[in-house]
Symmetry: C2
Subunit: 135 residues, 2 copies
């Protein structure tokens, strides 16, 4: 899961923020995202690993937020779901006998790293609460 991971996760978190007192089931959440509940549970597993949510198994179980939405930033969500932004690399290892091929990936990495810092600063300024309160 790459393309949808951030979007799905922030969707889940927004729902949890809207219902702070309930344990929401993966099926309910899946109905809002229009996604298979198993995939929702997989993203929740990721959130749990980062101690962002807590789940309850069994009947009437589900998931709820475990952190203050005002203190959770989009940067953190980004890092949990995307690692890093960038414009990609060619699939195959470039020719090491060519001065350009030998060094291109290293130079791209530097460039992308700067992009990440840039975007991270922006996302750091937005909390889940900010995002959720737009709705």
């Amino acid at each position: 899961m790459i393309s949808g991971k951030f979007a799905i996760t922030i969707h889940i978190l927004t729902l949890l923020h809207k219902f702070p007192n309930d344990y929401l089931s993966s099926e309910f959440i899946a109905g809002s995202i229009n996604l298979n509940p198993v995939l929702v549970r997989k993203e929740i597993a990721n959130l749990k690993a980062h101690h962002i949510v807590e789940s309850k198994e069994g009947k009437n179980g589900g998931t709820k937020l475990a952190v203050n939405a005002a203190e959770l930033t989009l940067k953190q969500i980004f890092e949990m779901t995307f690692e890093s932004i960038g414009l990609g690399f060619a699939k195959n290892q470039p020719n090491p006998d060519c001065p350009v091929g030998k060094n291109i990936n290293q130079h791209l990495e530097v460039l992308y790293s700067e992009m990440n810092q840039n975007v991270s600063k922006q996302l750091e300024a937005i909390s889940l609460e900010d995002f959720s309160n737009q709705f």
Copy 2:
């Protein structure tokens, strides 16, 4: 082609900048990128459509830069190969009967649009010449 398009294109352009007097063949370029020559020609077709390079068909043909490398910015290359940056969307249309589902994509679009402006500003400050001269 998504993941590699920008990287391949800037690789091509860097090579063309290093050999400003030659028409480089797609096979030569492909050898540096370690990529099928047909895919190189496809990216070159994109560059030609943007009047960044010119090609000569026939024997001893190939491609060379058609612009001043000092005036071509990475932002322009980004726009020719990536349209826009972002953190993706869920694949399926979210539930329109849910207040969150109904509006999430619109809010994500705004967020991603801000990211784009941010990154574009950064990439605008770097020319192909700057990038190529690192090698």
